[in-house]
């Protein structure tokens, strides 16, 4: 055995090139390792952002259950996870006048708190920052920049159904959720 002495290695010209090659390949491989480790996870985490929410019609009762007073209805989200429990519920305010239904999401258009229908003054009021809406959903007072989100209702075979929507976010263009 005749190992090269360390001094030889240090002084050799090729070594510099070899070293830089080794450095480059190590950095590149580290990048590959990193990508292999993280990419599936990133896709996994971001999936809910990309996935288009389903919209389904949910049964909320019979036409007789409704009258000219707004009534809170509760319905299940389109695709509730099996362990979601009560968190999969959403709510809407629904009323019917002359067989015409009006439905509003309970989400305040300011920052999303749940608005309540207050009978006497006929207003929707938000408990958070003082948002108030008229019975047609338009803003009466307070910070909300947009009217309450209208939801779609249909009657099929004597059953009133509501069309689920994503949480109405204030920057979401109304058209995108109304269609």
């Amino acid at each position: 055995m005749n190992p090269e002495s360390p001094e030889d290695q240090v002084s050799c010209e090729d070594c510099a090139a070899r070293r830089s090659f080794l450095a480059k390949i190590s950095i590149a491989l580290s990048g590959v390792i990193g990508a292999m480790m993280t990419l599936p996870g990133v896709a996994f985490i971001l999936a809910p952002v990309v996935k288009k929410p389903k919209e389904v019609w949910r049964d909320i009762g019979k036409p007789e259950d409704f009258n000219d007073e707004f009534k809170l209805v509760r319905y299940e989200d389109p695709a509730p996870l099996p362990w979601a429990g009560v968190t999969s519920r959403s709510g809407a305010w629904v009323r019917m006048i002359d067989n015409e239904f009006t439905a509003f999401s309970i989400t305040c258009r300011h920052l999303g708190c749940p608005v309540r229908w207050v009978k006497g003054p006929e207003l929707f009021m938000c408990p958070c920052h003082g948002g108030v809406y008229y019975k047609d959903g338009t803003v009466a007072a307070g910070p909300p920049p947009e009217p309450l989100h209208r939801m779609q209702i249909r009657v099929r075979d004597g059953i009133v159904e509501i069309k689920t929507t994503p949480v109405p976010l204030t920057t979401t263009p109304l058209k995108a959720i109304d269609v």
């Binding site: 985490i45 971001l46 809910p48 952002v49 996935k51 929410p53 809170l72 509760r74 319905y75 989200d77 695709a79 509730p80 996870l81 099996p82 362990w83 979601a84 429990g85 009560v86 968190t87 999969s88 519920r89 959403s90 709510g91 309970i106 989400t107 300011h110 920052l111 999303g112 708190c113 749940p114 608005v115 309540r116 207050v118 006497g120 003054p121 006929e122 207003l123 009021m125 938000c126 408990p127 958070c128 920052h129 003082g130 108030v132 008229y134 019975k135 009466a140 007072a141 307070g142 910070p143 909300p144 920049p145 994503p166 949480v167 976010l169 204030t170 920057t171 979401t172």
Partner: protein, 471 residues
């Protein structure tokens, strides 16, 4: 040599305790720091409380849509010591938030962020933001209706961001709505990601601390000059410094003792915050409120004119963070003494005052209609029948009292009406009710003319108390 000593020597030689750890503990620090410098170490102690109690809670807590609430109830009501641990984690969080801010204020007042400690400051600011993130996600893991609506508000705020807003909020929800996928996200942030950042950040903060040494108390005679600072500092330290352990550290230990005792006592006697109703996003009786350290922000969101709102919601956290982060770059030399830096003192006083005022407002929520108001009793209405009496009943029924105050009854959102009869005419009042204005809804569509005239009759009968008694 006795066997214990021998064993220790073996360990010491292999581990390097005497060579590496001891010098850190005994590094020389200025002797004049005294009690001013206890906040940083106390923050660390509070963090340890959080880690330890958090680990215990996580052994039982189930981060699942429905079960989180049940497991919290179990921890609170049944688990041995569960109530105390939840309490310690809650008050520990409050302590950590408070101490972090106090530590920062002290460092700012003494301008310790100046040369060469810029990175100490900046790493601290990042840590503080993460602590706020922990506080927010933590109150949310208390997964009751308040937790659900906190997520909702967070997502709605994020949604205001241009273009990417809705994506961020879908990311927060783990879908298009609050649901089974939501809580686990925050659990992971609260339990894995942010604590990891805090551990790493504290490590970095400590490295910087040891590299540049503990600062001296500011002295108007010793302005910071980056050219000469290090030499002068070391020279002074050599003359008057003391070893950190135990000469300086005993004060940290004493103060931390009080902090932990305070946390335990609060937990034992005040208990953890009560759980409200289950996390049902269709529950409209929820009255969402953040924990106390965010009430000031709650107020800000309520009183902002809506035209500025989106700017503030998005801009304030970003610019606030950057402004604080970059403080050392505004000035990193010169005077450190508060007596020579009136603006700094003013800023702290202003900040503290605004915090207190906004917090108090946040607690009373005067901008919010008060849903629970009592009807006016006859003694306030003044008569027991007739239009004025009818009107007195109607102001409750029609919700006027949710916002307006009359002789000790009603909410605080709108103007007090106790002596409105003296200020406005019948016409003015009628117009105001019909058309609304400022922040008052118009009632034209929801009130009959008869009811209206009763209400106006009643309001016209409102006069200052002394006149009423004169009548």
């Amino acid at each position: 040599m006795n066997p214990i000593k021998k064993t220790w020597n073996w360990i010491d030689e292999r581990s390097g305790y005497s060579d590496y750890v001891l010098p850190l503990l005994k590094h020389i620090v200025p002797r004049d720091a005294r009690w001013w410098y206890v906040f940083g170490s106390a923050t660390l102690t509070a963090f340890l409380v959080q880690v330890l109690t958090g680990i215990c809670l996580a052994m039982v807590y189930v981060p699942g849509g429905d079960e989180a609430y049940e497991s919290l109830k179990y921890i609170t009501d049944q688990a041995f010591m569960g109530n105390l641990l939840r309490g310690m984690h809650f008050y520990g969080a409050s302590a950590m938030v408070m101490l972090t801010v106090m530590h920062m204020c002290q460092v700012y007042l003494h301008a310790t962020y100046k040369y060469p400690r810029e990175l100490n400051w900046m790493s601290g600011v990042v840590l503080m933001m993460v602590v706020f993130g922990m506080a927010f996600s933590g109150q949310l893991l208390r997964w009751d209706d308040n937790g659900v609506w906190s997520v909702m508000v967070a997502a709605e705020m994020a949604a205001r961001a241009p273009v990417v807003g809705p994506w961020i909020s879908d990311f927060i929800f783990g879908g298009a709505v609050v649901g089974g996928a939501t809580l686990t996200r925050f659990f992971v942030f609260h339990v894995f990601i942010m604590p990891a950042i805090i551990f790493a950040g504290i490590g970095l903060h400590m490295v910087f601390l040891l590299r540049h040494g503990v600062s001296e108390m500011p002295n108007p005679e010793q302005p910071v000059d980056p050219e000469t600072y290090k030499e002068e500092y070391e020279a002074r330290l050599e003359k008057t410094g003391v070893p950190f352990w135990p000469d300086a550290m005993w004060r940290d230990v004493v103060f931390s003792t009080f902090v932990v005792a305070g946390i335990v006592l609060c937990a034992a006697f005040l208990g953890p915050p009560a759980l409200s109703t289950p996390p049902d996003p269709s529950n409209i009786h929820s009255n969402p409120m953040p924990d106390w350290y965010f009430w000031w922000y709650f107020t800000v969101l309520s009183v902002l004119p809506s035209s500025m709102e989106t700017w503030i919601i998005l801009g304030a956290p970003v610019f606030g963070f950057l402004a604080v982060l970059l403080v050392p770059f505004i000035s990193n030399k010169g005077q450190r003494a508060p007596s020579k830096r009136p603006w700094a003192v003013g800023l702290i006083v202003f900040g503290a005052t605004s915090f207190v005022v906004l917090t108090i407002y946040g607690y009373y929520k005067p901008w919010s209609p008060d849903f629970g108001v009592d009807p006016l009793p006859e003694s306030v209405i003044g008569v027991s029948s007739g239009p004025v009496f009818e009107g007195g009943q109607l102001v409750h029924k029609k919700g006027c009292l949710y916002c307006h105050h009359i002789d000790g009854y009603g909410g605080h959102r709108g103007p007090v009406l106790s002596d409105i009869g003296q200020k406005l005419t019948r016409e003015d009042i009628t117009i105001r009710i019909m058309n609304g204005g400022y922040n008052m809804p118009s009632f034209a569509g929801s009130i009959s003319s008869e009811d209206l005239s009763h209400i106006v009759d009643f309001l016209l009968s409102r006069h200052p108390t002394n006149e009423k008694t004169n009548e």
